[in-house]
Amino acid sequence: MSHSSVFVVTFLGAAVEVIEMVVIVVGVGSVRGWRSTWFGAAAGLGVLAVLVLAFGTALRAVPIGVLRVVVGSLLLVFGLQWLRKGIRRVSVNGLRGMGERSASAEGVPASGVDWTAFVLSFKGVLLEGLEVAFIVVSVGLAARALVTAAVGAAAAFVALAGAGLLARGLVQRIPRSALQLAVGTLLSSFGTFWAVQGLGIGWPGEDGAILGLVGWYLLAAACYVWLLRHRAHRPAVQEPAGQEVGR
């Protein structure tokens, strides 16, 4: 599997979570002040980097076949979860952005560390970032390209954090639901590919099968979105007069 596809998958996967991360950090920073918000965000990123390094190093010793079955299955289950959420959200909200998350400006200290800003920012970065760390470690190890995977996620962070700082509204308008659906299809495709490959089963067309899997999951997602929308817009069946009596 090429390094460029690892980069694209981790970049897009990280982008979904980084959007939320940036919206939280920018929201907290603009209301409660930037210094403590930055400390919190930096501490969260530090913990994430340590987690990726620790898990990445520890799991390198596991044989590649076993690793691909385990990581592929986890990635498939995780990807299907995102796919399901994405289908549901897109069918309800269409391609809308996520809007603003506000923090209260009450009790901001004049000097010293604002622990509310620190904790909100730290928690936002760490919790959203855990999913990024999971994607980086699993995709990076299964493809034997951990550094490329980490660079992909870091690039998403730099691009979206930069965009968030320069134009706050821009990041809020990115259709996160649609992006989550797209990344759900990618993670499910790679997860399926690696899990089956790890069992010692070859795919027809080798690495090219990934494209077929992406198409398969996208087609399924489009059908499910259409079905959910169709069901939501279907008018309720009118009951005959007098049916309500006695209920």
């Binding site: 079955v69 299955s73 986890l74 498939l76 289950v77 995780f78 299907l80 979860q81 796919l83 399901r84 289908i87 549901r88 855990l130 999913e131 999971f134 499910s188 399926t192 899990a195 089956v196 069992l199 010692g200 089963i201 070859g202 795919w203 027809p204 099968a209 899997l213 398969w216 999951y217 399924a220 499910y224 959910l228």
Partner: protein
């Protein structure tokens, strides 16, 4: 001891919710499909198509169940 147990339970719950989510049937279907794929492979049947088909069906059933 109870503190460690509580911490371990919380840790396990976090990862379960994180990877499996609110519908365990999708994860169970994936596990059964992969096991069936491996069994069919050992008997000489090409079964690479089974996990993607099972995954899409599991998502459909889950979307219907958790309306």
């Amino acid at each position: 001891m109870s503190v460690i147990l509580r911490w371990l339970t919380g840790f396990g719950r976090f990862w379960y919710g994180f990877v499996v989510g609110d519908d365990w049937t999708v994860a169970a279907t994936v596990a059964v499909a992969l096991a069936a794929t491996w069994l069919l492979h050992t008997t000489g049947v090409a079964a690479w198509w089974l996990p993607p088909v099972a995954a899409v069906l599991a998502v459909g059933v889950s979307l219907r169940r958790t309306r």
